[in-house]
Amino acid sequence: MKPHVSEKSGHQLTLTGRVSQLLFKSNFLWFCLAWLLIILSWELGSWLEWLNPQILPPPSETIPYAFSGNITIGFGQQKTGLFESTTITLGRVGAGMLIGLLVSSCLAIMVIELPILRRLILPLVQSLAPIAPVAWIPFTIVVIGIGGPAAVFIVFMAVLGTMTLSLIAALDSIPDEYLKIAHNLGTSRIRMWWYIRLPAIIPSTMTAIRMSFFGAWMAVLAGEMAGLNSGLGYMIIMAQQMYNMKLVMVGILAIGFIGFAIDRLLLLINARLLQWVQ
């Protein structure tokens, strides 16, 4: 009797229901508990003076500081805030990934439509893909500079190779039957891309986007720490130079939480799209 009941309730839950169950009933609680433990031992460590509060300010100072709403650092032109820095970094990642997705889509379409180009493009992207995203930072700073476009370029280079390769792999693994049948049903080239290939590759493309987000997120932060003149990474470096350790901590936590939140968001979109294409 029991298994039957639980199976039934599993079937009746909607997607959002299942996601919230996953998030709140089990994982979310453990998530909070784990962080609570860390924060408590940190606080205890500072209180017992095992940790130097000058270097590792305790949560009782850091957390109120993080939510004080007006965190800024630097003077004059260099002045920047947590919110502003985060927005700048996110904008760079978004723009770089969007351009990366567009360019890699064009490359993938060319490779599929013109088999000769496969021989030209594939070796190039195959040699691009293994280059660690951070390796582009020195090159970019010299060639493009230390502003926003340089950051976008780093993100773009970080995702271009892997994104193109995943798109081509996804297109190559579409079951032959779909293409034969679509062709047989008189599908034009454009409709073939839009109504057959695109929906067929959505699941693996979403996974590829999630994967390359991590690379992009890390590359842009590293770039900002290594010389770019704004953004979250820059803020952390500046805080470190001005010995504002509270802000360094807040910055690190912000990186973690935003990365985590965006990954979850992509996962949610992924689940939605999967439901649509299956």
Binding site: P175, N184, L185, G186, Y195, P199, A200
Partner: protein, 273 residues
């Protein structure tokens, strides 16, 4: 409304002196096979004997190394015109609902969406699935999916139907039902049908003619049989059973030839070691 009349006659197919090689050891041949307009021909043989290869040639999706396939006396040089393909699986696009799948070829022809969906519902009705119009293929059984595929096939008003083991993944009852649906589509449309199966019973239930394929030394058509049994076919019938036994013996022999030879070789090798 519809430019192609539904009574348009079936296509005529002719294979002559076909040879298609895949490697030094594997090739498929068909010396001469004529498929008359409006007939239902079955390619019967064990797997690997070249049935799908011949079907691809007929569809104009692949081309022979020697010889040619003609469609209404014209040598095929590209995808065969007004031809419908049905495979064992993956016939429906999983991201489209049943009605969107059926409407898809109509939309390809430029019909507006609302009208195409309206037509699609009519075609779904013909296979008894109008109430599943909004369902995704993943929500339907294998038999229902193949019926929707048939509905879409009717919608395109083909002159030639090429079916590659379309019912092999279905259970026996569903398969029988699908065979009846196919026969109904055939008699309603007057299309020519070329169908692959490895199921002897299915071949005898459907075919006007059976092209028996054998796989050694190369895949080739070993024999062409006209099946002159009355329709609807009755498996209990004496003449049905006689033909069935004959063909069964042929297939048995063919299996022995194809499968025991390599095993004997393999045993030889282990003896040498």
């Amino acid at each position: 409304m519809n430019t192609i009349p539904s009574s348009s006659s079936g296509a005529r197919l002719e294979f002559s002196n076909i040879r298609k090689s895949f490697s030094d050891t594997v090739s498929v041949e068909a010396d001469r096979l004529i498929i008359e307009p409006g007939s239902l021909t079955v390619l019967l043989g064990r797997s690997g004997c070249g049935k799908t290869t011949l079907l691809n040639l007929a569809a104009g999706l692949d081309f022979p190394d020697q010889g040619n396939v003609s469609y209404d006396n014209q040598v095929l040089q590209g995808p065969a015109p007004s031809t419908a393909l049905i495979f064992q699986t993956h016939n429906l696009f999983p991201w489209m609902t049943a009605e969107e799948n059926v409407a898809f070829p109509l939309r390809n022809q430029g019909m507006v969406r609302v009208e195409a969906l309206e037509h699609a519902k009519q075609y779904l009705k013909q296979v008894g699935l109008e109430s599943f119009a909004g369902h995704k293929p993943s929500q339907l059984s294998g038999g229902m999916r193949q019926r929707i595929t048939l509905a879409r096939t009717i919608a395109t008003k083909p002159r030639l139907l090429l079916l590659d083991e379309p019912f092999s993944a279905l259970d026996m009852q569903t398969r029988r039902m699908m065979q009846r649906y196919l026969l109904r589509v055939w008699s309603d449309s007057a299309a020519t049908i070329l169908m692959i199966t490895h199921d002897l019973h299915e071949a005898l239930m459907l075919a006007d003619r059976i092209a028996l394929m054998a796989s050694s030394p190369n895949g080739h058509i070993a024999e062409i049989l006209d099946i002159e049994l009355d329709r609807p076919r009755n498996p209990e019938n004496q003449s049905f059973r006689v033909i069935q036994q004959q063909l069964d013996r042929f297939l048995e022999h063919e299996t022995l030839l194809a499968e025991h030879a390599p095993i004997l070789e393999a045993t030889d090798q282990t003896n040498h070691l």
